[in-house]
């Protein structure tokens, strides 16, 4: 089975033995206690209310048998009041629990997102490959956990109701009450038998759904590529295969769930049939009155609810396990506990989100790279640094060099030489690779490079930088404290000042989803401004200039040199190489 990170599926049932789904879901439910417990109490009252309603109805029919119409009207009135009470508690409970539900989902989403955007430290999770496929884990998985928690309310309410109802019924006719338990036990047993199936089907369905959204995401991101390659029909044919597969898995999944539901739903009538058979003697003798039969009929309607909800809870428990299994891949150490960790996000509150806190600046004197090696996993499993990984990524082997403050180091070499890997390995961003070797900052070893090498110490500009649907200025600040002057200066250094000045709202211009309203070159230079805005001690650039014309690129390098920025850059261009204090040529992962 393929997984998001391309690693083999880790089956750690042990993991859940240590920390069960119940305890994980419990921690999530307690993120905002007040809403949860208010909803919980109200739903118990809501589910217990039919016990009162049924009792009044039974009394009404007894009054009718006795031809006591005034008592009948009173009982009808009480029944009505009990029902209105039921509606009122639902009003309060539903609002409280909607809050609780939404907050639970946001908590899980927040935990996953935080792991995906953390610069380093214990929280950072393995990056996902395809954002499109990962969205499933944000959309569907939290829903499955929340609905599992939701079923606790149903089960608790059903237990209260069932206890009251069975007690009243037992005082009326014990044998008839006992016989009612038969279909209830049957529902529970059938659920147990179908238990494992539910999980399998659920997993298959999830997988199929992820495949569909993944392909859809790819096709839609690459819409122009699909068009110009005349590949619309063949892409749709592939999509059709995947959606057909998903239909099959979804039907199995749904059929099993619906089958369970219908089976338990029909047990009320089976129970009543059994009551008639067992209680026939008492009914004919008059000791089991019509009013009491009506009460049995009324109670039986809701008696199926408990075994059904137990069954559903078990099914949802399985689904929640599948969900945690998907979600934990996005967080640090693939640990489900991190998905459930309380975070107290100020959602729906007037409290500000914790602001960005940058580390203290430690002026760079010298950066030292020692024996840095990065190996990607190979098909046979035994990684060799000079080989390419299973998916074609280039590793690096035993790279050492130094660079001094204010110097420019340019890395060059053919395609697949490992240039990008070198930059990422230094920065602690080569997640898929096994990295060894050290990097020193002023002679001191950097322990957590991903966490340390961020602004103001270092900034990174990748080959295809990504922007967000925000204004130009917000894309550059990214929540930092940079003032308008700083942004303007960064725009000037990045040689994008004139482009921005021509835009309708200048630096406040919204640049559209992923910054697509900008041209490729503008995106790259805005990203360069983003890297420069905090005056990083070290600027790391991965072939930034490939989207720039010669004149613009000369301008950019001139600016960088004038500012005395310490630069480590991949480039093939003369304009970069001529300014380099040091040129590192890589070939097949080694320095030559």
């Amino acid at each position: 089975m393929r997984t998001l990170d391309g690693k083999p599926d880790i089956d750690d049932t042990d993991h859940y033995r240590r920390r069960g789904i119940w305890s994980l879901a419990w921690e999530i439910s307690q993120e905002r206690k007040r809403e949860f417990w208010l909803g919980y109490a109200m739903f118990i009252l809501f589910f217990a209310a039919p016990a009162a309603v049924g009792w009044f109805v039974g009394q009404a029919f007894d009054a009718l048998t006795d031809n006591d119409t005034s008592r009948l009207y009173w009982m009808a009135g009480f029944m009505w009041l009990a029902e209105v009470f039921r509606l009122a508690v639902l009003q309060v409970g539903a609002v409280a629990f909607t809050k609780s539900w939404t907050l639970m989902s946001s908590l899980m989403q927040g935990n996953m997102l935080a792991a995906q955007v953390a610069s380093g430290g214990p929280e950072a999770g393995q990056p996902v490959g395809s954002a499109g496929a990962a969205v499933t884990h944000f959309r569907d998985d939290p829903h499955d956990v929340a609905i599992f928690v939701d079923s606790w309310l149903d089960v608790s309410g059903a237990i209260v109701y069932t206890t009251i109802a069975l007690s009243i019924m037992a005082t009326i006719d014990l044998p008839a009450t006992l016989v009612v338990l038969v279909p209830m036990v049957a529902v529970a047993l059938v659920t147990m038998v179908l238990d494992t199936r539910i999980k399998q089907y659920r997993r298959a369905d999830r997988q199929a759904t992820a495949e569909v959204t993944g392909l859809l995401g790819d096709i839609l991101s690459a819409a122009t590529t699909v068009k110009v390659n005349n590949a619309t029909d063949s892409s749709l044919a592939r999509l059709k295969e995947l959606v057909d597969e998903r239909r099959r898995t979804a039907v199995k999944d749904r059929l099993l769930n619906e089958g369970l539901y219908e089976f338990s739903n029909g047990t009320a009538d089976i129970g009543l049939g059994l009551v008639l058979m067992v209680g026939a003697g008492a009914i004919v003798a008059g000791s089991f009155t019509p009013g009491e039969l009506v009460l049995f009929a009324a109670y039986l309607v809701w008696l199926g609810f408990l075994p059904r909800m137990i069954g559903r809870t078990i099914a949802r428990h399985k689904q929640a396990m599948v969900a945690f299994d998907g979600m934990r891949r996005l967080v640090a150490g693939h640990s489900a506990a991190r998905v459930a960790r309380q975070r107290h996000l100020p959602i729906g509150l007037d409290r500000p989100t914790p602001a960005r806190l940058d580390a203290e600046r430690i002026p760079l004197q010298e950066l030292t790279v020692e024996s840095l090696t990065a190996r990607y996993p190979t098909p046979s499993g035994n990684g060799h640094g000079d080989d390419q990984g299973a998916d074609g990524r280039a590793g690096i082997r035993d790279i050492s060099f130094r660079m001094a403050r204010g110097s420019i180091t340019v890395v060059t070499g053919p395609v697949g030489a490992g240039k990008s890997t070198l930059l990422r390995a230094i920065l602690g961003l080569a997640w898929q690779a096994e990295v060894t070797g050290t990097v020193r900052w002023n002679g001191e070893v950097i322990e957590d490079r991903a966490a340390f090498l961020v602004p103001p110490q270092a900034a990174f500009l990748s080959q295809v930088p990504q922007l967000l649907s925000d204004s130009v200025a917000d894309n550059i600040r990214l929540g930092g404290t940079a003032q308008d002057d700083d942004v303007a200066r960064a725009l000037r250094l990045a040689a994008v000042e004139t482009d921005i000045a021509e835009m309708p709202d200048r630096a406040e211009t919204m640049i559209g989803p992923r910054g697509l309203r900008l041209s490729g070159g503008q995106r790259q230079r805005v990203a360069a401004a983003r890297a420069l805005v905090q005056n990083p001690e070290l600027l790391v650039m991965d072939d930034l200039s490939s989207a720039l014309d010669v004149e613009t690129e000369i301008e950019l390098w001139t600016n960088l040199a004038a500012e005395g920025v310490t630069v480590l850059a991949v480039s093939h261009r003369r304009v970069a190489l001529e300014r380099a204090d040091q040129v590192l040529t890589l070939d097949r992962g080694r320095l030559v």
Binding site: W80, L103, Q109, A118, V135, P290, D391, L478, A527, R573
Partner: protein, 596 residues
Amino acid sequence: MSSASDPWRALIDLVRPNRGRYLLLALAVTLRSLLPLVGPLLVGRAVDLALEGAPASDIVQLGLALIAVAVVGQVTAVAASGYATVLAWRTANQLRLDMTDHVLGLDHEFHRTHTPGELIQRIDGDVTSVSDFLGQVVAAFGGAALTIAGTLVILAAFDWRLGAGLGLFVLACVIVMVWMRRQAVGEAEDTMSARARLYGGIEERLTAAEDLRSSGAGAHAMARFVDDATFNYDTRLIEEKAFLRLWWGLQGSVVTGAALALILGGWLVSADAITLGTAFVLFQYTQQIRSPLEAIIDRFELIQKASGAMVRVAKLRAVRPTIIDAAGTDRATSPPPGPLAVDFDHVDFDYGDDDPVLIDVDLHLAAGRSLGVVGRTGSGKSTLSRVILRLVEASSGTVSLGAVPIGDIPMGELRRRVALIPQEVQLVHGSIRDNVTMFNPAPTDDEVEAAIRRVGLGHLADAGIHQTLGAAGSGLSAGEAQLLAMARVWLRRPDLVVLDEATARIDPETEQRLEAAMVELLAGRTAVVIAHRLSTLRDMDEIVVMDYGRIVEHGDRHDLEADTTGRYRRLLDLALEDVEEMAAPADVAETGNQRR
């Protein structure tokens, strides 16, 4: 409401091809809906028998009959819901494919302004709502209507007043529901756009995750997430409260109806018009009406979602491409076979914002010739390539390929004969083969492998072309991705090739190794090559220099190189100065200079 009627018509269009299957479903649903009406009749009969002093065996038989009806009811119900699900998925999958096809046919500009995440939410999320609607709601609604009709008929058979009373009551409930339903569609749309914003935002942040990590911007990304989640939270609460209003309306009526049924039954029993058993049936039916009506309410959320979803689906389907395919019209004309000549006749272009990107571009490129295009970022070079591929359409003037106006060439033929290798290569989640053929099953594995080797990606071919490329192409560097895009075109044998900065991310050394392959790729074809790196253009026949949307220089490459006052020559000199300064280090000599 016209906005609501259009999506429903679209839905009917979807269902029509499966008419027979939906009829079979209707039959199963009918059986499933009427069977529950039998139970109360049997119990009511038991009450009457008990009061009449009948033998216990009669009551035991009624009990047995009740169990038998219940079991048949369950089996029918499972069969019906299973079948409904199958049908719903068939229909919805067709809709997904149609919508993907439709969206892919939309303009370049549309894709520039809509995130893939948002479109996934439309094509997958919204269509799932529609699918849920077809699979669960339609059956529930039809079944509920049947149950209610059956109830009324049976009660009327006992006493017309019972039928009439319950009929009036149901009518009141339906009026309340329809009225409230009208209010709900707008709110559902709000909820869905809140979710689209939430998930679109998450997708965008995941896509930009590496940038956010290396910028130390985790806290910023989380703050934006909290904004989106708060918007979603507020919208969900509004939606829940709207739903609760609806629920109060229905439940209040049903509860009141049940109390009234008790009183009406009591009154008729004491007047000796009906038996106690019939009073029980009346009360039980009033209660049972609650469950079909509740079933509707339970699924009301789905209806709300589905109506909102259908409105958005219809909106998306109503977006028309401005670029119309000539195929099948009188205009449709095929250019002559072989390399295509390219003609621009006074072409202007802007993206609809009065900010011209191309101004009076007049250009003739003979069939089989190659043209290099240079100019600053933003000078309109990429737009030029988009116009040739008809991804955008000239605001005025005419573009012709092989002397046929581009608008008259059937789109399928245009796409087959013109190929683009772009700067930013999009890869898909799949095998290497899938990425080269774009899922086309026609090329053989050998052909695919040969193409990959020809562009210098031999190591990928060695790994096996059925090997999965890292998710979203993470396994390839940007330069390798450009080579792969070249292999795509290699397989297709087009008549006109447009390279838009196609080698910008490939180092000059590799580019030089590719030279033979490039010459072979361009031989016998017309070529338009856009490049910043002038060395890329050293084999071109002609050169165009663009500036601020205009062609400022056009001529034979040799002539322009010789013209010491020309713009092209000035660019060459700029690059050449570099060469002279940098001649020393031998290991970096292979860089962006002009070498002849």
